[in-house]
Symmetry: C2
Subunit: 315 residues, 2 copies
């Protein structure tokens, strides 16, 4: 589907359920709530769903967006590359033909929806929505601007990463005019840390391990350690960038325990390596510089599998 | 002087010395080297000077920009609000009438130069130069783009801070097209830390002190501590943002020892407080959310003065 057709589709239908991915981030939620509000302002009914609920730190997006009652007619997935990212809470939508439309920017998108608009060049799903709304021509408001900005900013590391295309800056230049306090959003998304988070970071960096002549850095976050810092799981998301922040490191790996024998890997790479390819070996995926996957086993088994894969990189 | 007149001035003169401020940052050096290269491409002679030499971490700006021999005819200060920021190495330019032209974006600018162009709304001195070069109409190259981008990015915390105006994003959208590897620059400027720096950060956060019901956080970096981490003084610049990164903190203060009884204060504030006004009490200045000053005395004396001033904020 072309962007024009998506616009037409939205005009012609009603009663939308918008799905966001598990371990929700600023882009999936920003896209979800921006689209929801845009549709409601068109006089349509719409709700945003997440299989795990919405984390506190994104409350500025969903506050005031009360659930509506209606009989669902269309299901739209935003920023979801694969149905396995719906999570158990939304598993009922994973079956074939359940999702009508997917709007996404992951090249790894599985084209599971009846109709898909995937732009792998777009810095964020929110950038696609920004273009869509401009094309559709109805005015946005400061809340929509805030949601879109948040998605673009969070997915680009505040315009820092390689995936920041010129259009992302153009969109930002327009969106920040809506006076929603972008610097407050950024402070919340990028800067502010709880004392517990700082403690956790210090613990992680003090225990960071280096391999391959310091080109690979690994941090391990066990449930026990995370519990001792008393912080929300969502707060750990940002910690995945820590190993790559060390001078000389080309691949940074964060191994975070999710359940007893389930570990979530977050992989970040410099220009020399493909994080997405690395994670595909374990059934995961993502972007070329930032990707993830889940590995089952004891910590020692997981660590061994990871280090074998690192060894194959020939660093 | 209007921007048009600055352009004319640059066309009409030759043999430029460009001055940058002490404790040089990405904006003063970006502006200096961008202007230098732009002038040289116009067939003019130009050099960039800094009273303390150029830090290694900015080598991507000055590499390949060899000093030229000429008799100095014009002196231009970039990003320098006051002659006391020239430092002892450039003290010879501090006398009246020594500086012909000043291009700056600090509202605290002292108008010490014969002619000044000060735009307090501009996110960075480099943003002013971007507009100037566009007005002058000569093409820039990827090195100039890189210098300008670096200045805008570093002074806005990579487009994160309140001082990011829409024009900063517009400039960035144009500059990143020059293919200089903006993400590599950003990684260098914002992300990469030496192991020593990480150690220093952990030390600083482990010893961070909180006052006024956790609304004020203070870190102290003594020469002894910094030496023990074995890192360059320039690497400590970024650490000034750490205290404000703690949840609930409204004023973050970093006290860094420069000499035995000389301490540099870096002050960062949220929307509720004026960092520049805080530092003016000690003869310093800067921006509303980020400012600095120097205080003499023993650490205990300095700390007492600072805490008195914090007390007056009535947090």
């Amino acid at each position: 589907m072309e962007l024009e057709q998506i616009g037409k589709y939205l005009e012609e239908h009603d009663c939308y359920t918008i799905l966001t991915h598990k371990s929700p981030d600023g882009d999936t939620l920003g896209a979800g709530f921006a689209l929801c509000e845009y549709l409601r302002r068109m006089g349509k009914k719409a709700n945003v769903l997440n299989g795990e609920g919405f984390p506190d730190r994104y409350s500025f997006m969903y506050m005031g967006c009360e659930p509506q009652e209606f009989e669902e007619q269309c299901v739209i997935a935003v920023d979801i590359a694969d149905t396995n990212l719906l999570g158990s809470g939304l598993a009922r939508y994973a079956g074939e033909g359940m999702i009508d439309l997917c709007i996404d920017h992951h090249i790894s998108n599985k084209y599971y929806a009846k109709e898909s608009y995937v732009d792998g060049r777009a810095s964020a799903a929110c950038l696609i929505l920004y273009e869509l709304f401009k094309l559709m021509g109805r005015p946005i408001n400061s809340h929509i601007a805030m949601c879109l900005y948040t998605g673009i900013a969070t997915d680009t590391g505040c315009f820092k990463y390689e995936n920041t295309i010129p259009e992302a800056h153009i969109a930002a230049s327009e969106l920040i005019k809506y006076d929603f306090g972008f610097s407050v959003v950024n402070r919340k998304m990028f800067d502010i840390k709880s004392k517990g988070r700082i403690q956790a970071e210090n613990f992680a960096t003090d225990n960071m391990e280096f391999f391959c002549g310091d080109k690979c850095a690994v941090i391990v976050l066990t449930t026990e350690m995370m519990d001792s810092c008393g912080i929300e799981p969502a707060e750990f998301e940002g910690m995945a960038s820590i190993p790559l922040s060390v001078e000389g490191v080309e691949i940074g790996i964060t191994i975070r325990q999710r359940h007893e024998q389930v570990y979530k890997l977050s992989v970040r790479t410099t220009e020399t390596l493909d994080a997405s390819a690395f994670c595909r070996q374990f059934g995961g995926g993502g972007h070329i510089r930032a990707a993830g996957c889940e590995i089952r086993g004891t910590l020692d088994e997981v660590r061994e599998k990871v280090m074998e894969a690192v060894g194959r990189l020939g660093l």
